[in-house]
C-alpha cells in the first residue's frame, strides 16, 4: 500500500471514529497537515545537516451550537491514534463547559468532498544530494533541499472529506562569490532533473564572476531601479502581511488603508489570489473551498479582499475561503509590456535589484516600507552591468512603487514556489513580473 493511501485511509478512519462518538447536538471539524520530508542543509557545497522529519498534525474542533474548542495533536500513524483522538474528544467535551458562545463561528455546511493526489515520482533524496554535491563541486553553494510527500486533509460531521497530496522537491540555494556577494537561485518540482541543477549551478558560477568586480557604494538618494520578480516577491510578501485581510481593513490595521479609502496604484497594477495557479490545497482548515481566483487589485484600485469564515460571520459578508490569517497563498500580479530581455536597456543607468531582504513597515497606515538590497544587485550604466552594489537600505511608499514611480512591468511573469518550512513545508507561491521604477529612495 502506498504512503498516501496509508495516510488518507488512516485519516478517514479517524474521522469516522469521531463521527461515531459524537453526542447529540455535537459537530466537529478535523484538519490534518502532514509530511515526510528529507531536509538537507548545505554549506560550502557540502552537507551541514541531513535528516528526515515525519510529522502529522491533527486539529480537532468540537462544536456544540455556537460553542467550540479545538485541540491540535501529533499523530503517530499507528493504531494508538484512535485512542488518542477519543481521549481528546472527551477532554474537549469537558473543556467546552468553559467556552463562551462564539458569535463569529461559521461552519462549512455544504458538503464539498475532493481528492487530489500527485503520485510520488522522486528518486531517493540521497541521490538528489549526490547530484547537488557533484554539481556544486568547487563552489561555495549554501542552501536547503526539502523533498518528500506533503499532505492535507479535512473532515467534518456533515460528511465532507478532502485530501490533497503531492510529493515534491524544493532546493533553495545561493552560490557565494565572496563576503556577502552571492547569486541566489532556487527551484522546485515534482520530478528531479540532475542535468538541470548542473546547468543552474554552472550559470550561477558565470553570474558570480560579475560579483568579483570591485563593489560600488551608493549615497542615499533617489535612483532608477529594476526589481526582478524575486525582489518584487519580498514586497508582495510584506503587502500580504495583512494588507488584503478583510479583518485588517475593517480594523484599520491594513497597510492598504488609503487604497481602501480611494487612493490608487498605477492602472497597470493588477493583483489577485490565484489558487488555481498555485500549489495550495483547494480547501482550507474550516472546510471551505477556495475560488479559483480572487481579484485583489484591478487596474490600480482595490478590487477585493481575503475573507475568512470568522470575518464573514463578524461583518455579515460572504467568505471566500481565506485562512484565518487572511493572506494570499497563491499571489499573482499581472505582467506589463516590457520584454524581460530588454530590462537592462530600459533601466539605462540605475540599480538592478535581484533580491530584497528583511522588509518591514516604517509607517504602516501610509504604506511606507523599508528593506535591504541583497545578493546579486548591480550598478548599471547605459544598460550594462558595471559593478556589484554594496548593500543599501530603501525606505519608500507602496504608492510610489506601484504608482507614481512605476515605469513598466515585464511582459513575462515568474513562478516562485515558497521554500519556507516554519512548522511545516509551505505550499504558498507567487507569480510575478519584474518592475522598472523611475525612482527608488535609498536612505542608508
Amino acid at each position: 500500500m502506498s504512503m498516501h493511501q496509508d495516510n488518507r485511509q488512516h485519516f478517514y478512519a479517524l474521522a469516522d471514529r469521531v463521527t461515531s462518538q459524537l453526542h447529540a447536538g455535537e459537530g466537529f471539524t478535523l484538519w490534518l497537515q502532514g509530511e515526510t520530508s528529507d531536509f538537507v542543509r548545505f554549506n560550502h557545497g557540502l552537507v551541514r545537516q541531513a535528516g528526515q522529519v515525519a510529522q502529522v498534525y491533527l486539529t480537532i474542533r468540537l462544536v456544540q451550537g455556537q460553542k467550540h474548542i479545538s485541540q491540535r495533536v501529533v499523530l503517530t500513524g499507528q493504531a494508538e491514534d484512535a485512542e488518542q483522538v477519543s481521549a481528546v474528544l472527551l477532554d474537549l467535551r469537558a473543556a467546552l463547559v468553559d467556552a463562551a458562545q462564539d458569535p463569529h463561528l461559521l461552519l462549512a455546511e455544504t458538503v464539498n468532498s475532493t481528492e487530489s493526489i500527485q503520485p510520488n515520482q522522486l528518486p531517493p533524496t540521497e541521490q538528489i544530494v549526490e547530484d547537488i554535491i557533484a554539481a556544486a563541486a568547487g563552489s561555495d553553494v549554501v542552501g536547503i533541499l526539502a523533498a518528500g510527500p506533503v499532505f492535507f486533509g479535512f473532515a467534518n460531521h456533515y460528511g465532507q472529506r478532502n485530501w490533497h497530496e503531492t510529493a515534491s522537491w524544493n532546493f533553495d540555494w545561493s552560490l557565494y562569490s565572496h563576503g556577502d556577494k552571492a547569486v541566489k537561485r532556487g527551484g522546485a518540482g515534482f520530478v528531479w532533473d540532475a542535468a538541470a541543477i548542473r546547468a543552474d549551478i554552472a550559470a550561477a558560477r558565470t553570474q558570480a564572476e560579475l560579483l568579483s568586480r570591485p563593489a560600488h557604494s551608493l549615497a542615499p538618494g533617489g535612483y532608477r531601479a529594476y526589481l526582478t520578480p524575486s525582489a518584487l516577491g519580498e514586497i508582495a510578501a510584506l503587502l500580504n502581511w495583512g494588507g488584503f485581510s478583510e479583518k485588517s481593513l475593517r480594523t484599520k490595521r491594513s497597510s492598504l488603508l488609503k487604497l481602501a479609502e480611494g487612493a490608487a496604484f498605477s492602472p497597470s497594477v493588477s493583483m489577485a489570489d490565484d489558487s488555481a495557479g498555485g500549489l495550495e490545497p483547494s480547501f482550507q482548515q474550516e472546510g471551505f473551498i477556495k475560488p479559483a481566483r480572487i481579484p485583489l487589485v484591478a487596474e490600480g484600485r482595490l478590487a477585493g479582499s481575503l475573507v475568512s469564515p470568522r470575518t464573514a460571520r463578524e461583518y455579515d459578508i460572504p467568505s471566500n475561503g481565506a485562512s484565518a490569517q487572511e493572506g494570499s497563498e497563491s499571489f499573482s500580479m499581472a505582467g506589463g509590456d516590457l520584454p524581460q530581455a530588454d530590462a537592462l536597456k530600459a533601466l539605462g543607468t540605475g540599480l538592478y535589484i535581484s533580491n530584497l531582504w528583511y522588509l518591514n513597515f516604517s509607517d504602516r497606515p501610509a504604506a511606507r516600507i523599508t528593506g535591504m538590497t541583497r545578493f546579486a544587485c548591480f550598478w548599471v550604466e547605459n544598460g550594462e552591468i558595471v559593478a556589484p552594489l554594496n548593500v543599501m537600505r530603501f525606505d519608500d511608499s507602496l504608492y510610489r512603487i506601484f504608482g507614481s514611480e512605476l515605469e513598466a512591468l515585464t511582459r513575462e511573469t515568474e513562478f516562485l514556489a515558497d521554500a519556507g518550512s516554519y512548522g511545516h513545508r509551505s505550499s504558498a507561491s507567487q507569480r510575478l513580473p519584474g518592475l522598472l521604477l523611475k525612482d527608488l529612495k535609498l536612505v542608508l
Binding site: 542543509r41 541531513a50 515525519a54 479545538s70 491540535r72 495533536v73 563576503g179 518591514n360
Partner: protein
C-alpha cells in the same frame, strides 16, 4: 514517566559512534478576548522525538512521533542512513565534536507546581481589560490574550546521558488600535508580538502589568493619534527595555551566532559583520556595554539547564566593557571553529524549536547588564533627544549591520526634561558603530525582562523562544525620523 522510552532507546542496536534521543512534550492553551468577544479556546499538544546519529564523521537525524520500539528503531535507521550518506561529504567531520553524556534535571520556575488555570477567572480578567479599552469611538480594535505553555524535555545519549528538563511560561498581551482621519495608531503592552513572555506561573500576569493595562494602552493609542510625527535629525536616543530587547536581539544576538559566522545561514537569515578573528580584540561598543548570555535568570523566557546538545548552561560575558569576548556558539560550532585553529569558547546555545527540528546556534537569554543611572538621570543627561518605547518595526541587513527600527511610542526630550508625545518614532544606524555611541546605562530600576516567542532562523525554518533583559540606555547622535508627512 519517561522510563519506557528510556528503555526503548537503550534497546536500540546503536552500533554507531554516537546516538542521542531528544524528546519534546509541549502543552499550550490560548485564551483571548477581542473587542470584548471571547475568542475560541485553542489548545495544542506536541509529542515527538528526534534521534541523531554521528557515525564515521557523518551526521544524520530523524524525527518521529511514533515512540514505539519499532518507531524509534525506524527513526534510528533513517538517522544512521543519513549519517552514512553524508560521511565524507559534510562541512565538518562530526566525530571531532566532543558531545558529552550529561546526567541531571532542571525544572524552571513553577514548572513542577500545579497551575491554577481557572479559565473563568482568567477570562473575566481578559474581559475586564478589554472593556477598559473602550474609551472612545476612535478605538476601533483591541484585544487581550493570555497563553500558557508547559514543556518537558528528555535528552538521552548512547553513552548513558540522561537529562530531564521542564519549563512553564505565561505570555500575556494586550493591544489597542485608534483610528481617525486616515491615520491608525496601535499601542500595546510590551509589544504587538508578545514581548512580555516569561517563565513562571500566574505571577507573570502581574509582573507584566496586564491588570489595569487596558485603559492606559487605549489612552496612549488615542494620544498617538493626535500627536505630531517624531522629529527628524541626529539627536540623542533613550531606548526603553521593550525596544532595547529588539536592538540587542538583532544587532548583537544574531551577529554573534557562530553558525552564521561559519556561513550556515547565508542562504536564509544571512551572514554576520562579525568575523572569527574579531573575538578577543574587537571593540563592539562603548566601555559601558556589558552583554551576557545568562541562563541563571530563571524567569526569562529561554532559561534552561542544558542545551539540546547536552551542554550545561552557565552565565558568560560575551561583551565586557565594550570588548567582544565570545560568540554564541554551541559545542559543534565551537569544534568547527577549532578546526580552523581558533579557540573562541562559546555557550550552551545549540537549540531546536521543537522535536521536529535539529539544533542550531540560537541566542537564549541574552541580556545587557545594568548600569548605575536612574531613569530621571538618563533623561536629565539629554539636551536634545527622543525617548522610544516598544518595538513595532525591525529591519536589518544580511550582515546584521545596517538597521532601521521603529517604535510605537515616543517622547521628545529637551534640556533634560520629557516633553510631548510623538508618533511613528524610528531610527536607523549601523551596528558596528551604534553600540559605540552608548552614552549611559540605566540601573536595575530601569531594567525589565522581555523576550520573543517568534525568533525565526534556520533551514528548515525554526521559530524559537528567546529572552532579553535590559535596562534603559542612551545613545548619542543617532539618525531619528518620523512617519510619512
Amino acid at each position: 514517566m519517561f522510563k519506557p522510552l528510556i528503555q526503548r532507546f537503550r534497546a536500540l542496536e546503536a552500533s554507531v559512534d554516537f546516538c542521542s534521543l531528544r524528546l519534546v512534550e509541549e502543552q499550550s492553551e490560548s485564551l483571548a478576548v477581542r473587542q470584548s468577544v471571547p475568542q475560541p479556546i485553542e489548545r495544542r499538544t506536541e509529542r515527538g522525538a528526534m534521534i541523531t546519529v554521528i557515525h564515521r564523521g557523518g551526521y544524520g537525524y530523524a524525527a518521529t512521533a511514533d515512540l514505539s520500539q519499532s518507531g524509534l528503531a525506524a527513526a534510528f535507521e533513517r538517522a544512521k542512513a543519513w549519517a552514512q550518506a553524508t560521511a565524507g561529504r559534510s562541512v565538518f567531520d562530526y566525530s571531532k565534536a566532543a558531545l558529552t553524556h550529561p546526567v541531571g534535571q532542571y525544572h524552571g520556575p513553577a514548572a513542577a507546581a500545579e497551575l491554577d488555570w481557572d479559565r473563568k477567572i482568567l477570562m473575566d480578567l481578559l474581559m475586564s481589560e478589554s472593556e477598559a479599552c473602550r474609551l472612545d469611538e476612535r478605538i476601533v480594535d483591541w484585544g487581550v490574550n493570555l497563553d500558557r505553555l508547559d514543556v518537558r524535555q528528555l535528552y538521552l545519549t548512547s553513552g548513558g546521558g540522561e537529562v530531564e528538563q521542564s519549563f512553564r511560561a505565561l505570555i500575556p498581551a494586550l493591544s489597542a488600535t485608534a483610528y481617525a482621519d486616515g491615520d491608525s495608531q496601535t499601542r500595546s503592552l510590551g509589544g504587538q508580538y508578545n514581548g512580555y513572555c516569561r517563565q513562571g506561573g500566574l505571577e507573570v500576569i502581574d509582573q507584566s502589568g496586564l491588570r489595569g493595562a487596558g485603559r492606559r494602552v487605549a489612552d496612549e493609542a488615542l494620544q498617538l493619534l493626535t500627536a505630531p510625527n517624531c522629529p527628524s535629525g541626529k539627536q540623542d536616543l533613550l531606548l526603553m527595555p521593550s525596544q532595547m530587547m529588539l536592538q540587542i536581539h538583532e544587532s548583537i544576538g544574531h551577529p554573534l551566532e557562530l553558525d552564521r559566522i561559519l556561513g550556515d545561514e547565508r542562504n536564509y537569515a544571512g551572514t554576520s559583520f562579525v568575523s572569527l578573528d574579531m573575538f578577543g580584540n574587537y571593540q563592539y561598543g562603548s566601555p559601558l556595554l556589558n552583554v551576557t548570555y545568562d541562563p541563571s535568570r530563571s524567569n526569562e523566557f529561554a532559561a534552561y539547564g542544558w542545551d539540546d546538545d547536552g551542554t550545561p548552561a552557565e552565565k558568560t560575558f560575551l561583551i565586557r566593557n565594550g570588548q567582544l569576548e565570545h560568540p554564541l556558539g554551541g559545542t559543534i560550532s565551537q569544534a568547527r571553529a577549532g578546526e580552523r585553529g581558533l579557540d573562541l569558547g562559546g555557550v550552551a546555545n545549540s537549540r531546536a524549536c521543537n522535536w521536529n527540528r535539529a539544533p542550531i546556534d540560537r541566542m537564549a537569554n541574552l541580556n545587557i547588564e545594568a548600569g548605575d543611572q536612574t531613569l530621571e538621570q538618563l533623561v536629565a543627561g539629554i539636551e536634545h533627544g527622543v525617548l522610544m518605547d516598544t518595538n513595532v518595526s525591525w529591519s536589518i541587513d544580511d550582515s546584521r549591520n545596517k538597521f532601521q527600527f521603529s517604535c510605537e511610542w515616543g517622547r521628545v526630550i529637551e534640556n533634560g526634561e520629557l516633553k510631548g508625545v510623538v508618533k511613528n518614532p524610528g531610527y536607523r544606524g549601523i551596528s558596528a558603530t551604534f553600540w559605540r555611541s552608548l552614552k549611559a546605562v540605566g540601573n536595575q530600576g530601569t531594567d525589565d525582562v522581555m523576550g520573543t516567542p517568534y525568533c525565526g532562523k534556520g533551514e528548515p525554518n525554526q521559530v524559537i523562544r528567546v529572552g532579553h533583559a535590559s535596562p534603559a540606555c542612551v545613545f548619542g547622535d543617532v539618525e531619528v525620523f518620523g512617519g510619512e508627512v
